[in-house]
């Protein structure tokens, strides 16, 4: 069940969400994609 948290699935899901959400809340996705992209830091 925890496999759904795989980084590839999350990355693809985030990209799809950005495509849909860019029309309404682009600034949120500017932040989310930048924040998630730093995932190698901890």
């Amino acid at each position: 069940m925890g496999k759904r948290w795989h980084p590839v699935w999350l990355g693809v899901g985030l990209a799809v969400a950005a495509v849909v959400g860019v029309l309404w809340v682009p600034w949120v996705f500017v932040g989310v994609t930048a924040g998630f992209a730093t995932s190698g830091s901890t």
């Binding site: 948290w5 990209a15 924040g35 830091s41």
Partner: protein, 181 residues
């Protein structure tokens, strides 16, 4: 550090709240400073600066040039947990959420920060700050819930994830451009 049992339950929640707070704090600082810096500049110059940073990040990531962007090249010290079971993770989260406390392995936050600095209104800056915290919290949540070494998986798939997230970021930035011009 995140695999420790202390990161289950409410301490992990406090850490995520801290990430959101940290993102908002950075966004507020940027928009306050930016409101002064951007005042004499027309909108196309402000966005030109954003795209200039984007180009610098891109050529740096592609290895065409070696640019040292400002970065706090230190790990967050263990002493951050001295405040206790919840306040410690909260403080740790705030520091991580600011994006200014430790290493930044991606160039995208520099572009986002420049966009907020020069172009965002206060509500837009807050949305970006919350988003940044959410993005970092998503990593934390995934890492805690995945049965394998999540960061090893990330490293294994980085050649796919980096262009994917960069594309999603660029699309979002274009959307942000449309909302501010």
């Amino acid at each position: 550090m995140l695999s420790s049992p202390v990161w289950r339950g409410s301490p992990a929640f406090a850490f995520r709240v801290g990430l959101l707070v940290g993102g908002v704090v950075t966004a507020l600082v940027l928009v306050v400073v930016g409101s002064l810096a951007r005042a004499p500049l027309p909108w196309w110059v402000r966005w030109g600066l954003v795209w200039a940073v984007l180009v610098l990040v891109a050529v740096n990531e592609l290895g065409l040039v070696a640019i040292r962007f400002p970065e706090n090249r230190r790990l967050v010290p263990e002493g951050v947990f001295r405040l206790g079971r919840h306040l410690g993770p909260l403080q740790f989260g705030i520091e991580m959420g600011t994006g200014a406390r430790t290493y930044l392995p991606s160039g995208l936050p520099y572009i986002a920060a420049t966009a907020v600095l020069f172009t965002a209104s206060l509500p837009q800056a807050l949305l970006a700050g919350v988003g940044f915290g959410l993005g970092r919290a998503l990593m934390t949540t995934a890492s805690l819930n995945h049965p394998d070494d999540w960061h090893a998986l990330w490293s294994r798939h980085t050649s796919f994830l980096t262009p994917l997230l960069s594309g999603a970021f660029l699309l979002s930035l274009l959307g942000a451009l449309l909302t501010t011009t």
